[in-house]
Symmetry: C2
Subunit: 403 residues, 2 copies
Amino acid sequence: MLAESGEEIERATGHRLRVVRALVRDLDKERSFAPPDGVLTTDFADVRDDPSVDVVAEVMGGVTPAGGYVRELLRAGKPVVSANKQLVAREGAELFATASEAGVQLRFEASVCAAIPVVKVLRESLIATNVHRILGIVNGTTNFILSRMERGATYAHALAEAQELGYAEADPTDDVEGVDAAAKMAILATVAFGSRVTPDEVETRGITELTPAHIAAAAELGMVVRLVGIATLEREEVDVRVQPAFVERSHPLAAVDGAFNAVMLQGDAIREITLEGPGAGGIETASAVVADLVSVVGTAGTGFLQNDACWRELRRLDTDAWRSSFYVHLDVADRPGVLAHAASRLAAHEVSVAQLVQRLEDGRASLDLVLHEAPFGRVRGALAEIAAFPEVLDRPFVAPVIA
Amino acid sequence: MLAESGEEIERATGHRLRVVRALVRDLDKERSFAPPDGVLTTDFADVRDDPSVDVVAEVMGGVTPAGGYVRELLRAGKPVVSANKQLVAREGAELFATASEAGVQLRFEASVCAAIPVVKVLRESLIATNVHRILGIVNGTTNFILSRMERGATYAHALAEAQELGYAEADPTDDVEGVDAAAKMAILATVAFGSRVTPDEVETRGITELTPAHIAAAAELGMVVRLVGIATLEREEVDVRVQPAFVERSHPLAAVDGAFNAVMLQGDAIREITLEGPGAGGIETASAVVADLVSVVGTAGTGFLQNDACWRELRRLDTDAWRSSFYVHLDVADRPGVLAHAASRLAAHEVSVAQLVQRLEDGRASLDLVLHEAPFGRVRGALAEIAAFPEVLDRPFVAPVIA
């Protein structure tokens, strides 16, 4: 890509980028291209100490040894472009401090949603608008699985298909448990709100507990189920979470199908801007890496956006104060008064019901409720009381609604 | 906005932006803010000759006198940020040459789709991907009208509602005839393909000929009607057009509702990236203007992306060679053999039919056809022959299909 786009890059920056070193594990591995002699090396020091290296792209992934290498490169005065979400999300504070001390840039567009330029848009295009909410479908694997379940597949079948197509790893834990999405949302929240959020601080719930019944209930309510990251800035407090959410069909995120990603940025001046595209893939990631390399070369010598995006330390919003509309599913014994009992508990916590669907099957009833917006604490309080009813047969299922 | 975002801007660029001059028509007009003494002026020379002015935002609109002012400012060594689509689309060649000669920047993000950062994304984020097709809903007024017609309104009613809500001007010609969309598509094609396209070169058809019957036919075929700009780069030839198009419901552009805009960029590495958001509005436009001011200040002294986006001169694609799937509507007399006759003419031109809906009403029949992808010339040829049938009662209606 660097070779193919050489002219474009030269027109934009005045420089022709040339690959002079590439750190690899195995010099003799068969490759689809023939690197010039002397480019490939297995010794990191060859990259770090080569004075002809002006900027380095880190695309090895993993926190170790990538993190150590990036730090050494920055200290050696070499700007770095990273596609490594776990590294940026977990060690960002230290890495950006190192970059700043050395006076070189560290860019990371490719670490979130591959070719979708959400970091540049947040930092440069939306600089004058206070972005206070981010909604993101930032994991293609889970979105593919949920899209398949919408068409009738079970979770297990959809996962198997995703694995066959190469969308999901043999061990899909990071995707289906929301770990991957949490790292991306942590990076986006950090950039948008200017305050560091680490993946550990992201309340994360995956899609493994979802059943065809949830998907069917969503369809009945005019919604679809998506794994959604939600980052909120409210009165100088931050909340970031990843969980299955019920998304109204008319919402732009409901239209995101298959392995695509989408990020909706809500701000004061812009209302909302949505970016959608392929959030993974080798060539898509390369496109973002090259764009970052070009930005590094193009803005070298200025102070433009070369600092850490973090400049303040915001408190975490109390989870109970986090407000949303919610979907609740209850499995109850089909006895008179259960609904009234549940409704009175919700009312006692000042939670009101927007929509209700009741279904009966051999002595059991299932209740699907959509609740009006309320602080999560009140909903949780009411549900804890409801769960204790003898008529309630299973733990209540709750998910935010995105309208 | 400059005052409110002062700190963010200073963090990003190291500079605090201050409004030192503002050219206005009327010093005494009542304003919602109190400008400091000496800022307002009715004399352009006060802006041009003030050495403390480092960058100018042009938000006056219109080609005259804005064009003359921008040229003078550039010649005086002042970078300019413009929100003026007609000026950038019509006089871009000269303006960018002037900027380049003077060694100052001319940026124009706000001239296309307000707060949606499509120019920056095209120039910076997608630099290494050969963007070869742009699909755009770039006029909010017509999209609002079409969204309303979809829900049953007539064109006249929908237009009146758009005017009431302030989405459409008293004289809506520029919007409904596609003039506004053509200027935006010309700018986007120029930036994406690197070859100048002027609005005169954009084949433009508005929405005034659309009737509820077209909208109903689209619904029956699982589609919606949108005013879509299509820019194509094919074998080093360019085609740019604006016209009503039939968009499949599952396509991201079909989900763009009301006055929102969306631009889909298709390229080699990215497959497609879609940006959606408010494409008009004072504060939304201001957000893009401020982002450009920040980019100008942040990259001053570098050569980064400060040249004209145009660097080559591509030929125009012969319209007859432009390929698409098409929707065709025919009003015919209800006589035996008409359908077979029409089908044989299409087949003679090697155009095949993908879908057909026939409706009868008192001696007339209406035929709605969806044609497989074909060069427009063949479709046009077949339709010219079909239009000459005595059984064909009205001029055939044809629109591209976006699948």
